[in-house]
C-alpha cells in the first residue's frame, strides 16, 4: 500500500522533497500539489509527478480523499494554518521548520494535537536523522558518563546581505537548539549571548561571530560559536564533555592527502552536502509512520520548545551579557 502525499509549497525544498518521494524513497507517491504560484506547482508536476492533482489552496489539498498525508513546505508564515488544518483532518503532516512564526502559534498546534490525542505532526529538524549525530548520541549515552558541558560551533563560509543578527538564531542556531536538546535529553533554562570582535568579512547588518551560552535543567553548560562568515568552510562541530571522557561529532568522510607540504583533507563549503542524506532518512521515517496513521521524530512540542528557546536567545542578543531565563509550561502527556 502506497502512501498518497500532498505537498503544499513547491519552492526549492518542496520540489526537493517531491523528488525524494518519487525517485529515492519507497512506500509513498505524490498525488497532490499546491502553491500560491500555480506556475511553480505545474513545473513540479511536469518534472516529477505527472499524475499529481494541482489544488488552488492548501486547505483543499488537505481535504482531498486522494491525500493520506501532507508535506508543508510553503512560506514559513503559512505553516501553522496548514498544520492545524491537517490535524483537524486527522492526517499526518510533515512541517518544515519553523513549525510556526511565534511561540504562541506553535503552542496552539501542540494543544490541537494533544486534543486530537495521537501524534500527527513531524517537524523538519533533520539533524536528528544525520548519521554522525546518531553515532554521537549513542556514544554520549553509553561511554562518557553524565554530560557536563557541550562545546559546539556552527560555521558558514559567508552569508548574503539580507542575513541579519537575529537570523543567527532563527536560521542558524535553531538546528543546535533542537539537536542538543535531543542529544542530551534535556531542556534549556537560560541563555546568554556575547559578541566577540566582529570579523572584517561580515557586512554591516550582522554581528558575526556570536557566542551563545545555554544552561540546561540538568546543569549542562553549552557554548555555541555561530560564525557565518568564517570563510574557510561549512563546519559543524560538537564536543560533549562527560564525567568519564569526551566525545566529538564525527567529521564528514574525506580523503586525506599529502601534497604541497601539507597533510590535507577537504572541508565542505555547501551546507546542502553536509546533511543531504539525513533528509532522505527523515522523510522515509515520516512515510513509515504516516502509513500507520501517525508521526515519528521531532514533535510539535519540540517545535514549540525550539520557538521559546529561540525567542530567549534573540532577547539575549539585545542585552549582551545578560542571562535570559527560559521557562516552559508543563509538557502534555502526549509528548512524555
Amino acid at each position: 500500500m502506497t502512501l498518497k502525499i500532498g505537498v503544499i509549497g513547491t519552492g526549492a525544498i518542496g520540489r526537493d522533497h517531491t523528488r525524494r518521494i518519487t525517485r529515492t524513497l519507497t512506500g509513498a507517491t505524490v498525488t497532490a500539489l499546491s502553491d500560491v504560484n500555480a506556475e511553480s506547482a505545474r513545473a513540479v508536476q511536469g518534472a516529477l509527478a505527472p499524475e499529481a492533482e494541482i489544488f488552488t489552496t492548501g486547505e483543499a489539498l488537505i481535504a482531498s480523499e486522494n491525500v493520506d498525508a501532507v508535506l508543508v513546505t510553503s512560506w514559513g508564515a503559512t505553516h501553522a494554518q496548514y498544520v492545524l488544518a491537517a490535524i483537524a483532518a486527522g492526517k499526518p503532516v510533515f512541517c518544515e521548520k519553523p513549525l510556526a512564526t511565534t511561540a504562541e502559534a506553535a503552542f496552539g498546534i501542540v494543544e490541537a494535537e494533544a486534543a486530537f490525542g495521537r501524534r500527527l505532526v513531524q517537524v523538519g529538524f533533520m539533524r536528528r536523522y544525520d548519521a554522525s549525530y546518531k553515532m554521537l548520541k549513542k556514544i554520549v549515552e553509553s561511554e562518557i558518563g553524565q554530560p557536563l558541558m557541550v562545546h559546539a560551533a556552527h560555521r558558514n563560509p559567508s552569508v548574503p546581505e539580507q542575513y541579519t543578527t537575529p537570523m543567527a538564531i532563527h536560521d542558524t542556531l535553531i538546528h543546535e537548539i533542537d539537536v542538543l536538546r535531543w542529544l542530551l535529553d534535556d531542556d534549556y533554562v537560560s541563555a546568554q549571548v556575547v559578541f566577540p570582535r566582529k570579523t572584517r568579512h561580515a557586512h554591516s547588518g550582522v554581528a558575526d561571530p556570536q557566542i551563545v551560552l545555554l544552561e540546561t535543567k540538568k546543569g549542562v553548560r553549552i557554548d555555541v560559536e555561530i560564525f557565518v562568515n568564517c570563510q574557510y568552510g561549512y563546519d559543524i562541530q560538537c564536543q560533549v564533555v562527560g564525567e568519564e571522557g569526551l566525545a566529538n561529532l564525527p567529521e564528514p568522510m574525506s580523503v586525506s592527502m599529502r601534497k604541497e607540504a601539507k597533510r590535507q583533507s577537504t572541508i565542505l563549503t555547501d551546507w546542502r552536502e553536509r546533511f543531504v542524506e539525513s533528509y532522505d532518512v527523515e522523510l522515509q521515517d515520516f512515510i513509515e509512520a504516516a502509513s500507520r496513521g501517525t508521526a515519528s521524530g521531532p514533535t510539535a512540542w519540540d517545535g514549540y520548545v525550539a520557538a521559546i528557546s529561540s525567542d530567549a536567545c534573540v532577547q539575549a542578543q539585545k542585552a549582551p551579557g545578560m542571562i535570559v531565563p527560559i521557562s516552559l509550561p508543563a509538557r502534555p502527556a502526549l509528548y512524555q
Copy 2:
C-alpha cells in the same frame, strides 16, 4: 514502470538482496524466486515477497514472462549457467561474484555477451559503489598526478577453520583485484606473493599474513597486505602514491573520544557494516540500467579479468617469491 526481478538462490545474500529490492530501493519488485532448497525460497517469499512466484529451476524462472531481469545469488558453481541462460533470453542479469569458477567459463560469458552485442551482465563487485572508494578515485584522477604505487591492506579480525590459503585470493584479495584495476584504470601484468612470519592466531591450514605484489601495464607497483587474523578489526586500507602527492582511502566515519588516557575511535569488526551502503547503491544501479534493457557497473569482462588475475596469484602462492606473468586476450569492443 516497475522492473520485475527474479532471484535465483535465496540463501543469505539472495534474501538480503530481496529485502533491498522490496523494502529499500525503488523501481523494482521481486516477482520470482528459485532455490535448490524450495523451503528456503518459500521462507523468503513469506517474509519479503508474498506475491512472488516460486520456480523449480533457475532456467524456468529466467524464461518466465513475469521476469524482466535476473539476480544470480546461488552457489558459485552454478553462476555461469544461469548468466548464460539470461544472456540467451536477452534479460539483464546481476551475478554475485564469482562470475564463474574458472577463467575459461568466465570467458565463455564474455563471448556470449559480446555476441549478443549489448551489455546484460553486472558482476557484484560492490566496492566500486562504496562512497569512500568513489571519493578516492575522484582525488586520484585529479589531484596527485600519475599514480606510481599503491599500498593496500585487507584485514579481518579472524577467519574460520575452513578458510584456506587460496581463499585469501579468491574470497579476500578478489575485491582489491577488481577495485584497484578500476581505481587506476589499468590491468595487471604480473603477481608475486611473499609470506611473512605466520601469526600465532592463524590455524594450521592458512598462511597468514600474506603480501601480494602486483605490477600493472602502466608500471604501477601495488602491495596488498592480506591479514585475515589481525585480531583488531575489519580494516581496509588503500594509499595511492602519485607523482605530485598521495591520497588515502577515507576511514569509516566514527566518533573520536578521549577516555581512559587514550584518544580513541572505534574500528569496525564486521565486514558487513563496512560496505553495507554500497550494496544498496550497486543494486539500485542495476535496477536503473536493467529498466533500460541493459547493464551498468562491473562487466563480464571485469569478472573474467578478476578470474585470470586471481589464478595467477594462487599460482604465485605456490611458488613464493616467483613473479608470475598475467596476460589477457584482446578486449572485445563491447568493453572498450
Copy 3:
C-alpha cells in the same frame, strides 16, 4: 664564563632546577643554596652541587659575591621579598610563579624594577617556551587573520582533597591567563565564570568543572574550560579562531595504534611530562640573559597582570554569571 647561580628554596622545583643547571643546561653552575629547612639544602648540595655554599637566609645568598644570579623557588609567600632583594642587589632573578601573593606586592616589584631601569626579573611562566605554543603563535601571527575567539581547556585527571575552588584560578588557569595574553599580544578587560553541573568525581570542596569567559581589549572572546577531575588525562587544548581560519595547539607526539577494535593513541596523565622540555628552554633563556646582566621572557609586569587578572577571576567565581571588569594601570616604559 660560567654564570654563578644561587638557588633559594630547595624543594621539588628548586631541586629540579638545580639538576637542570648542573646536568642539562650550559653556561651556568649552582654556587649557592638556601632553604628554611637546612637539611633539604644539604641534600640537594650532596646530590647535585657539592661545591655550592649553603646560606642560612635568602638575603645572605643574594648578597654573596659568589652569586651572579638568583633562582627563587621557595614558598610562594616569600617570593616578593627575595625578588626585591635581588633587584636591590642589581642581580638577575628567576622567580617561579606567583611573583607575589597579592597584586599590590607584584606591583611593588614592577615599580622597583622600573626604578632600577633594566630588566632583572623573569617570571616562571614556562608555557611560552613550550614548542607547541611557539608553533601555534607563529601560525596565529601569520596564517589565520585577526584572532576573534579562543576556545581552550585545561584538564587534569584528578586533584587532591586540599585543592579548592579558587585554586582553579591561582594554580590552574594562571597558565592560560599568561600564555593567552602572550599568544594574542593583548590584555583582558573582563572575566565571567559559569559553573556547569559538578562532576561526581570532584570532592566537596571544589566546584569542578568551571568555565571562565575572558574578554580582551581587542575584543577577542576566550572561553577556558577548567576541569581538574576529568579522569581521562592531562590535556591542554587551545583553538584560536581568526578571520580567515582556525588553528589548534598541537597535540603531544604519540604513537597511533590499531588494537582491540580501536584506533588509539596515548594521552598524557602527568602534567610534568607535558611541559618538561619547556622548563629546560625557559631556564636556558634565563642563563643567557642573566649572563648579559639582564632578564628575558615573562616580565615582572606579566607577573603583575597575571595577579590582577586572577583576582578578577576569583571575584567572578564568587558571583557566578557576573561580568567582572579588569583594569590595569599604565604600563611602565620598561615593559613596552
Copy 4:
C-alpha cells in the same frame, strides 16, 4: 671533569657538531680541530672554539694528550683509518656514517675493537635517538605482539642531479636499514628491489621511486618505499604490524588548521628539521659514554651489518625482482 674532544673534518657536519658540543651540550669541550683544508679548520676555530688547537693530520690530533675522544666527520673514504687510529690509541670515537666505504673495511674495525676488548666506537645512526622512533620501539616491544610486517617510506621532495640509483641505498635507505634492525631487534636475510613507473620529476640518472623488500631472520617482511622526488615533503613513515595490532611512527608535531576549505597541517620539507633534536641526544650520549672511557649507541658491528645489507640491496637493484641473500659472520662476543 670536562671531556676534551678532537674533531677531524670541519665541513658542515663537523662544524655543526662542534657548535653542539660548545653551545648546547654539557660535559665536553672541543680542544682540537683538523681538516685537509686548514682554512676550514681555522674558520670553525674562530667561530666556535677559539681555544682549540689545529692539527695538520687526524692522526696527530688523535695522538694529542689534549684529546680524550674523537669525532670523525671527515670525507667518508677516510673514516676507517681514523677510527682504527682511535682504537689503537684506546680513545672513544664517534664516526659519522658510513663507518667505512666497504663491508670489508668495516669488518676490520669490528675486529680491531673486538681485539681491544671494550667498546670505543659509536656510529652516527641518529634515528635511534629520535624521540618518535623511541616511542615506537617502546610500543612495538609491549603493545602489539610479535612483529610480522613493516611498511615504511622514505620520501624527499627532490634530489640534485648527482644523486644516482645506488645512492638511494647508501645515502637514503641506509637509515631504515639500521633503524629497522634496532626497532625489531633482528637481522636481514634477503633483499629484493622492484622499480615502479618512474616519476616525471626524477632526472635521467636515477630510478625513482624504488621499493625494497627485506626479509628478516625472524620472518618479518619489510617493504620500504624510497621516493626521493616525491615533491610534497620530507616524510618518514614506519608502520609495524604485529600479531595483536599495529603501530605507526608518530608524525612530527604540527599545528592543525582549518583554512581555505581544507583541514591542513604542515609537512616538513627539510630533512635537517626532522631529526635535528636527535643529533643533540646522540652526541650527548657519546659524551657521557666517552667520559667513562667507552662508547654507547650504534656499534661498529651495526656499521658493518649496515654495510653488508646495503651491498645486498645495491646488488638487488641490478637484478630487479631477484631475491639476494644476506648472510653475516658470527657476531663477536663484544656485541652480544
